[in-house]
Symmetry: C2
Subunit: 594 residues, 2 copies
């Protein structure tokens, strides 16, 4: 149907030439921005690259820990994947790397088949990244980017909010310095934590708690304070982003100086191997692929969803375009490169991309700077993180995900539409009660079922003429003129198998309740298609009503629907003279005039 959509034709030849020229730019966006690079963009790109790297070093380690992986895996996932995205990505400012949601999904997916922390666990996380990359690449090549549209806004809000709770509470053990067994279902996490509160390690809590407070200050108050001191936003902005790095430095120094990792029992990151990750081909068994497949599918979609939302929003602000399918290809390639360099699943991150954009990034050169800085960190700076307390990394995760819990959207959706709210709640509780993976499946299924339910019970209205106009509206809502022998019924849904029985009921009831009725005009302005089941029913009802002495007329049938009806011979059989361009004309014809 959509093939026949309207575009205004203004020189098709010209446009075709443009299209050929654009193809290289489209599949390899770096070919455009690098060739057209302007010197004046360099300052913004380098500052943004530096600021993002400063955020990314602690975040990538924190997210790796969240995923149950050693900290260096997070750093490895922040080098080659970023470079690969810079080559293929259609967004100029998306900051790719480890993110909280994908890390949590990696943890739950892989922990189901391997012990957290084992060599097998690390290998599986890497295979998972490879699978995700291949899936995203294939989806992008097959132009299936539209599939993400099936993740509705309510489902995403429910999912993100529940995941934020799960992620936040999964890090609470690091803040409290306690050991908690991995729960089978997310909600058990809260019980496990609660039971273990008495064994809190106070030194750890002091580090973790003050880390959280400092991060919150940097996130929510520092910028305002600096601005009230008349510091210009272009300086205040980057400064407020170094919070995580500063907290990491202070906490590391505190642990080292006070020797808290000894008897006080503060857990530290410890040795991180120095040197770049080596290129390696993961060895894969079929059974691993099967076991990881559901998780891979979900991360492919959810991760991409996060990425495309943020890249679209940022592009819009700059009047640029991103192409969903090209983004799938770019993020997919980034994941594959992550798998070959000892990393784990990556995607475009919300907060870092915003920082990248506001810190002045103009092109993906900013990302290239970031990747180089991370590589330098991995090569030379890892010994600095030896005394870094895990509690501080936990604090970084908690503060990052706290803002993802979105009660405001829930209230808004609840007020607007209860069906959407049901989908949201189904997802939210599905995640908390069953599992992260199941929750999103439940949410999508609920949203689809509710949509089908809604379209299977179509709204309809008997309409009458508004004043002396040619416009007709619901007789129950508007002050309109009608005629006793002629009904104009507007059916407010495409006619398809799930609602054919309703259509039948509506027409037969109208006839049963109005003995005087002679004509029914069925207004099809809201009928966007009629499928074979509905056509079958419509033909039958028309015949039956004819026998009962009631004639059916059709009005305002849309072009594509009319094409179909003509093709199948319905129009010839029904009589073209019984089909009217507008309800106004039909009513005039039936003697129901202005």
């Amino acid at each position: 149907m959509a093939i026949e959509t309207t575009t205004l034709k203004d020189g098709d030849g010209l446009r075709q030439n443009k299209r050929k020229f654009n193809f290289l730019h489209k599949v390899l966006p770096i070919s455009k921005w690098l060739l057209e690079y302007k010197k004046e963009d360099l300052i913004g790109d380098s500052i943004a690259g530096l600021v993002v790297a400063i955020m990314l070093v602690p975040q990538s380690m924190a997210y790796a820990m969240l995923a149950g992986l050693p900290p260096q895996v997070g750093l490895y996932a922040s080098i080659l994947p970023i470079l690969v995205y810079a080559v293929f990505g259609s967004s100029r400012v998306l900051a790719v790397g480890p993110v909280a949601m994908d890390s949590l999904l990696t943890l739950t997916g892989v922990a189901a088949i391997a012990t957290v922390g084992s060599q097998e666990f690390i290998a599986l996380a890497l295979i998972l990244a490879l699978m995700i990359g291949v899936i995203q690449l294939l989806l992008g090549i097959a132009r299936l980017g539209f599939l993400v549209n099936f993740l509705s806004h309510p489902v995403l809000v429910g999912f993100t909010s529940a995941a934020a709770l799960v992620i936040g509470f999964s890090q609470a053990k690091h803040i409290l310095g306690i050991t908690v067994s991995r729960p089978e279902h997310p909600y058990e996490l809260f019980l496990n934590l609660f039971n273990n509160i008495p064994s809190t390690n106070l030194a750890t809590l002091a580090i973790g708690g003050s880390s959280i407070l400092m991060l919150l200050y940097f996130k929510y108050f520092l910028k305002k304070n600096l601005e009230s001191l008349n510091v210009s936003p272009s300086i205040a902005n980057p400064i407020s982003k170094v919070g995580a790095l500063l907290v990491v430095l202070l906490a590391t120094i505190a642990v080292w100086a006070l020797g808290l990792n000894g008897d006080s029992g503060v857990k530290i990151v410890g040795d991180i191997p120095a040197g770049l990750p080596s290129l390696a081909i993961p060895t894969i068994e079929m059974s691993q692929l099967t076991a990881l497949f559901p998780t891979a599918i979900i991360i492919s979609i959810v991760g991409f969803m996060e990425s495309i939302s943020i890249s679209t929003t940022l592009a819009r602000k700059r009047r640029q375009k991103v192409d969903a399918n090209q983004e799938l290809i770019a993020v997919g390639a980034a994941n594959i490169s992550s798998a070959f360099t000892g990393g784990y699943p990556v995607t475009g991150g919300l907060s870092r991309s915003v920082v990248n954009s506001t810190a002045g990034a103009n092109t993906n050169l900013a990302s290239i700077f970031t990747a180089v800085l991370i590589a330098v960190t991995v090569l030379f700076l890892t010994p600095l993180f030896y005394y870094l307390p895990q509690a501080t990394l936990g604090a970084i995760v908690i503060v990052a995900v706290a803002s993802l819990f979105d009660f405001k959207s829930f209230k808004h959706i609840w007020a607007y539409n209860k069906m959407d709210a049901v989908a949201l709640l189904a997802t939210f509780f599905g995640v908390l009660i069953i599992s992260i993976q199941a929750g999103i499946g439940i949410g999508v299924a609920t949203a689809l079922m509710l949509y089908l339910y809604r379209t299977s019970k179509p709204h309809f209205a008997v309409v009458g003429r508004v004043g002396d106009t040619e416009h007709f509206r619901n007789i129950l809502r508007h002050n309109v003129k009608t005629c006793p022998e002629t009904f104009a019924v507007r059916i407010d849904e495409s006619l398809y198998f799930a609602n054919t029985k309703e259509l039948e009921k509506i027409l037969l009831n109208a006839v049963a309740e109005e003995p005087k009725l002679k004509n029914i005009v069925l207004i099809c302005s809201a009928v966007n298609f009629i499928d074979a089941s509905a056509l079958d029913t419509l033909q039958r009802v028309i015949e039956e009503l004819n026998e009962a002495g009631v004639r059916i007329y059709l009005a305002e049938i849309k072009g594509p629907v009319m094409d179909g009806l003509k093709k199948i011979g319905f129009v010839d059989h029904f009589g073209e003279e019984n089909i009217f361009l507008s309800n106004h004309r039909a009513m005039e014809f039936l003697g129901c005039r202005k």
Copy 2:
């Protein structure tokens, strides 16, 4: 949404009284027709009851054999279930009993967990009937009858045609007198048969072949021949229905007289225990319930679908009504009664119901007569069937299902709508290649996916004024007048999560391609609802276009949609002055006049 549908109010008090009075008639339809019984209906009812019984005796045994059950099970399923339906059923003429489709589904479902012909197999078929009965009853009480609407016409055509092939070929072994191993997938049946053709038993083939020929003559030619001999239709009609019984008698006599069951190797029905089935409570294990559950769900829906289609069609011809939920309850109760009297799954059968109706049935008293006659048969006449050849029963099934293969509908659907044709083919090949049960699941899922796909890529049209009217149509299809600075865009779909991205693309592209554009009127005549995701997108796009200097106006928003937009504060924020009752008014306001 559907709550706000229109009904013409003419004395609601009166209607409420009627409703209370009608309640008993509704839940116990026998209370109406038996009390109001007219003497003149008796002749029609008794003739119809007799004719249906004559058809049902051989058919019920044949279908039991198809299901892998002894012939008496079919007869048992044709006594109490018929009486129970007569009490609860809202159709006056539906003939309940064993049918081909349910029998095949019973065979495939139960044979997966028990050996065909074993005592366990018989017990499981009975438990299956109980499960189906309970499911149907619950669906009916929960008013979920609308669920059957999700079995679209193309899926049913594909399913029925494939099942007819499978049923027909499953009986071929009886006609040929050969033994064929049960195939794992339906299509293997054809191969197995083909390989065994050389071992055909000629005496059996003679009986089976001549049975088929005689049945075909009765079904397709006898009535015409009688009418050309000036026999009145009221006599010709019933006579043409005794075909099956006559064939049964002749074949039985032939086998008995010629002793074909001896060395010639013609398989016969053999001993059928005389006497009514005893009331017995089936013993059930949990594991059986789990194993049978998918089959039970499918027969519940498919069986009911067959039943409700035929009862609706017949009721319409008589200007009577059937209530889908009451029908579920009645058929469910019939199935439960079947389980307690040694039967197996039953439903309303197509051909017998038509015969019942045309033979003159006026009320369910006809069915009561049928049940009594079957009971008499079971009590006294079973010895007569000793020499009945199985080939003749196979012939009865083959001739009954041959007309279910529906190539005409396929051609029609293919010509009308390729998406519907895809759903049909998916079901058809799903049934043949994988299994009966999987096929219908594949079909329903395909139909739903295609529907979602279709609504996720909405058609839209830029429209212009038709002549001097207030009617606006697609500028590409009609000769219309437009204005350069103002676009009127009609979006032909409800706005929901799966198509929000498309809406965004449509509006942004329109702006990108027309630099002169200042106003866009979004015509919502085909927008039946806007969900939370779409509202979110719409608000965002409106703001962005505003920034780009393009103002959005809305026109022809429907009542229920407007209610939602008002409730959430969208209308206040957007400005009620920017929303127009009709596109005509919007265009006048924007200076784009007639």
